[in-house]
């Protein structure tokens, strides 16, 4: 049994001695070496440290010592998340060579759970993108079709799962960056309620929207990983103090009577008919499981993208101001007589075009005379989007719809048109604006045979409900079992 098996199965195999952490880690590293050259999901692995950790866990198991809930499981971490002693770059040249002297809280939790941090996963630079075409090592490829994008920004995290190189990964989601690549690669991904998972040590893109979340090949595995990373962190002032429920325990609860809201606004112009078909079929499946479909309305959905891009870029322009070539990261090699030239050249060399575009837009949105018209207005629209959801959740328990209006596009197809790319985030950004938990699970294929994701959105701290509904859906269909064709060297 290797890294392509589910985390749940692997834990059982590890417990029974059918495999060892060391064997599993070696197998995962071997598989990465075998297939990832074509995919580009892994930016780097730390073989020595992973193998050493695995051996230590095996030893502890032999000695009968207590082990954490992920003991011996190799986990991949998006390169947005800081790992102590392991280079962390946010897939950006400006952070090349940066080795954090600290772990993100989520990584500390992984280590405390005896997971094996296998390496860092590729992504769009600073999580700005929906295609993972702007990774440090070139475009990440979708294992279902190497000519297509895996989605983004957590493309590497989705591809690592879909290609069977490890059972669990962490992603980050600011406007859909977990859900959309999960949908594009046929895996599951969950963005928790804002504040449910600590952001401490997670490189900031847009601080009021960013959340770390679990990605896996099954809903049960998703719950397993969420259980480990969720919870209050005193080092993150935006972290929620609420106790964490037992997500695994509620997975098998029947969805009988669950009210599933279907927003009309998520089935409008721009939605690929094949995607719509798959999502409508998913609704039928849920109804078949006993759920009640309820029409709901989220009237401000059409304004979400505009509000999102103003807020996200404004916060990004601020968060990325620290990359100045003084304390860490890239510094221009050009001779610079003065500090401002050093800043401007360093940043021009270190950031890619999409990051520059967003920094400029965000700087503009915050600048004197424009703040009220852009940033403040967007924050008010955000209030309207929140209200939409609050009203909808008076009538339903979860909201369901497509994760993305389209399936994976061809690499390069949309890179010339930033706005067109932004618009594909239409169904994912509203939940970020409102801070709501949401997930994506596979629900079929589009006209090209590429995976399609079903999105479920819950009320604040409704992760357990979402996981229960998604698990019921997964059991009722065979989508989660589908695997992409083997990548051949």
């Amino acid at each position: 049994m290797g890294p392509e098996a589910s985390a749940t199965e692997l834990l059982a195999a590890l417990a029974s001695g059918a495999t060892s952490a060391l064997a599993l880690t070696e197998a995962a590293l071997a598989r990465i070496r075998a297939v990832d050259g074509h995919l580009g999901a892994w930016l780097r692995t730390d073989e020595a440290s992973a193998l050493e950790t695995a051996a230590r866990i095996d030893r502890r198991r032999e000695l009968g010592q207590p082990l954490g809930p992920l003991a011996g499981l190799p986990v991949g971490v998006k390169d947005m998340i800081c790992t102590r002693g392991m280079e962390t770059t946010a897939s950006s040249r400006i952070l090349e060579g940066f080795v954090p002297p600290y772990d993100a809280t989520v990584v500390e939790r992984l280590r405390a759970a005896d997971a094996i941090v296998l390496g860092k996963l590729a992504m769009d630079e600073f999580a700005m993108g929906s295609s993972s075409e702007r990774s440090l090592r070139g475009p990440v490829r979708n294992p279902w079709d190497l000519e297509r994008v895996p989605g983004g920004s957590s493309g590497g995290s989705a591809v690592a799962l879909a290609s069977g190189t490890c059972p669990l990964t962490l992603g980050t989601d600011t406007g859909g960056s977990i859900r959309q690549p999960a949908a594009f690669c046929g895996v599951a991904g969950l963005k928790p309620t804002y504040g449910r998972v600590s952001r401490q040590g997670v490189i900031a893109y847009a601080s009021s929207l960013d959340q770390v979340g679990p990605m896996a090949r099954s809903v049960r595995d998703l719950a397993l990983l969420l259980q480990v990373i969720a919870g209050h962190d005193p080092r993150d002032a935006t972290s929620l103090p609420d106790p964490v429920p037992d997500y695994q325990a509620v997975l098998d609860r029947p969805v009988d009577g669950l009210r599933v809201g279907v927003p009309a606004e998520y089935f409008q112009e721009g939605l690929d008919p094949a995607v719509e078909l798959a999502v409508r079929a998913a609704e039928d499946t849920l109804r078949g499981e006993g759920a009640v479909l309820v029409p709901v309305s989220l009237p401000h959905t059409r304004y979400a993208i505009a509000a999102y891009y103003l807020i996200a870029t404004a916060e990004a322009s601020s968060n990325l101001a620290r990359y100045d070539g003084v304390r860490y990261g890239h510094r221009t090699a050009e001779p610079t007589g003065d500090i401002d030239t050093l800043y401007s050249r360093t940043r021009a060399e270190g950031f890619g075009p999409e990051v520059k575009r967003r920094i400029i837009l965000g700087t503009f949105a915050l600048s004197s005379g424009y703040y009220d018209a852009y940033y403040l207005r967007a924050q008010k629209v955000r209030t309207l989007v929140r209200r939409d959801f609050a009203q909808a959740f008076e009538r339903c328990d979860v909201i369901c719809g497509p994760t993305s209006p389209v399936g994976p596009w061809r690499i390069g197809e949309r890179s010339g048109d930033p706005l067109a790319m932004y618009l594909t985030d239409i169904y994912t950004v509203p939940a970020n604006l409102a801070g709501l938990p949401c997930l994506s699970v596979p629900c079929g294929v589009d006209s090209s045979g590429m995976p399609v994701g079903l999105q479920l959105i819950g009320p604040p701290l409704g992760e357990a409900t979402l996981l229960g509904a998604a698990h019921a859906f997964e059991r009722a269909t065979g989508h989660a079992a589908r695997r992409p064709p083997e990548v051949h060297p």
Binding site: V99, S208, T238, R357, I360, R377, R382, Y422
Partner: protein, 98 residues
């Protein structure tokens, strides 16, 4: 103060100076085009009547979290300078300021 976004145009050079990004002519042109279209799209927010709507700056409002005034060890000098592009062992070094 609530000027309509659609009336605004972006001065890329000035904004790039504020953001400390040196842009070449081609980049500036490309950005001008892209940002014009984005701002045009964003202008649809004009349609909304936002009078009396409170802005949301935190999606999940919380009470402020505190830290007690208790010290923890700092980074060692080695750790502090490990990632520095230039330092002299006691300070971070930059080109002359002012």
């Amino acid at each position: 103060m609530d000027a309509a976004p659609s009336e605004l145009r972006i001065d890329i050079r000035q904004v790039a100076t504020l953001a400390r990004l040196s842009l070449d002519a081609a980049e500036t042109r490309e950005l001008e085009g892209a940002l014009d279209r984005i701002l045009e799209y964003v202008a649809q927010l004009d349609e909304l009547d936002l009078d009396g709507v409170e802005p949301t700056s935190h999606p999940v409002p919380l009470r402020a979290a505190w830290r007690e005034d208790v010290a923890a060890p700092p980074l060692s000098r080695d750790e502090a300078f490990a990632n520095a592009p230039d330092h002299d062992g006691t300070a971070f070094v930059v080109p002359r300021v002012v």
